[in-house]
Symmetry: C2
Subunit: 194 residues, 2 copies
């Protein structure tokens, strides 16, 4: 059965992911996808389906291959607040400098689009994973935290803060301001110095 594809579907999907991540789904045409990936319309539609399917697959890849590793690092770090701080440092660095500067977070960006059910499912999953990882990191913080905190609620607030960082970085926010804001949020969690 000569059914061997002439390209690597995973590698192509990564290119597509980057295109949609940077430019957004609505403002990116199939013609651009073809130009960037180099494959033909037939192969594209045969392999991935239509544009919306393609976008969903790209977003899924982003959540699984880009976000999830960061979440796992955060959850399994074990240092407590320094792990959370490192997470935000890495995030701000990635969002403001280098190859992906001003691309924001593809999942955060996707919130602005139309409310496709598949997309919403991915976004809810993404948020749940972020919050859970944040919560795990906080559980390891012990007495680095002031007493009496509701860790679930704090995890939620830090997850929301991360969305803020992602959103503002896409508009070219000053990384120093972002660092300051994050530092203030984390400082407030620490016990009062005695």
């Amino acid at each position: 059965m000569p059914d061997v594809k002439h390209f690597d579907p995973e590698a192509v999907l990564e290119q597509v992911e980057r295109l949609f991540w940077q430019r957004g789904a609505a403002t990116t045409g199939i013609a651009e996808v073809i130009a960037v990936t180099g494959l033909s319309r037939s192969s594209l539609y045969a392999t991935y389906g239509g544009k919306q399917d393609l976008y969903v697959q790209a977003l899924r890849r982003y959540v699984e291959r880009r976000s999830e590793p960061m979440f796992e690092t955060l959850a399994s770090d074990g240092r407590g607040l320094p792990a959370v701080a490192a997470f935000f440092d890495t995030l701000i660095e990635a969002r403001c400098t280098g190859e992906y500067a001003r691309w924001g977070c593809m999942a955060a960006n996707a919130h602005a689009g139309p409310g496709d059910p598949q997309v919403r499912g991915l976004l809810d999953h993404h948020h749940g994973r972020l919050r859970a990882a944040m919560r795990e990191a906080l559980e390891a913080a012990g007495d680095q935290l002031r007493p009496g905190l509701d860790l679930d609620a704090v995890a939620e607030s830090l997850a929301l803060l991360a969305y803020g960082v992602n959103v503002r970085s896409r508009a070219g926010a000053d990384p120093e301001s972002l660092h300051k804001g994050v530092a203030a949020a984390l400082d407030a969690l620490r016990p009062t110095r005695t």
Copy 2:
């Protein structure tokens, strides 16, 4: 000079604002704008220019007429932390229930679009105003706050938090979770109970 328009440009602009706010600029066609406003292509293009100009004007109206009043209330309240809490309560209520439920914040949504310079200018202005209002509210908090806080940094962190609320609410986030997250962030600012 019979040059009286047959419609109220301001009222039309509000309808356009709501359309772009809810559906986004890229996914809204001029045909929809015409259908909703009831005016003709000629009048639309003669009055507002092309689609991008129209979007910028709608976004400007949103920032000036929707966001700014909330910022002014926050800045001039004078109660301190309760004012900040009330701001977030109102925000979550507006984002999750009623006429504008799941529309998010038009300015936050605009971050996901292409980096148009005019749009970016509006978004930077919007963020600056939010942060400044937050800072003013915090200055009135006095000893409601734990000592030693950097108010600028805290204001930035609360502004970022607001973006998180706006973004997640568009995906239908549970308002209770949002309230919890906000409450945790504000609680952490208070002095340790003695």
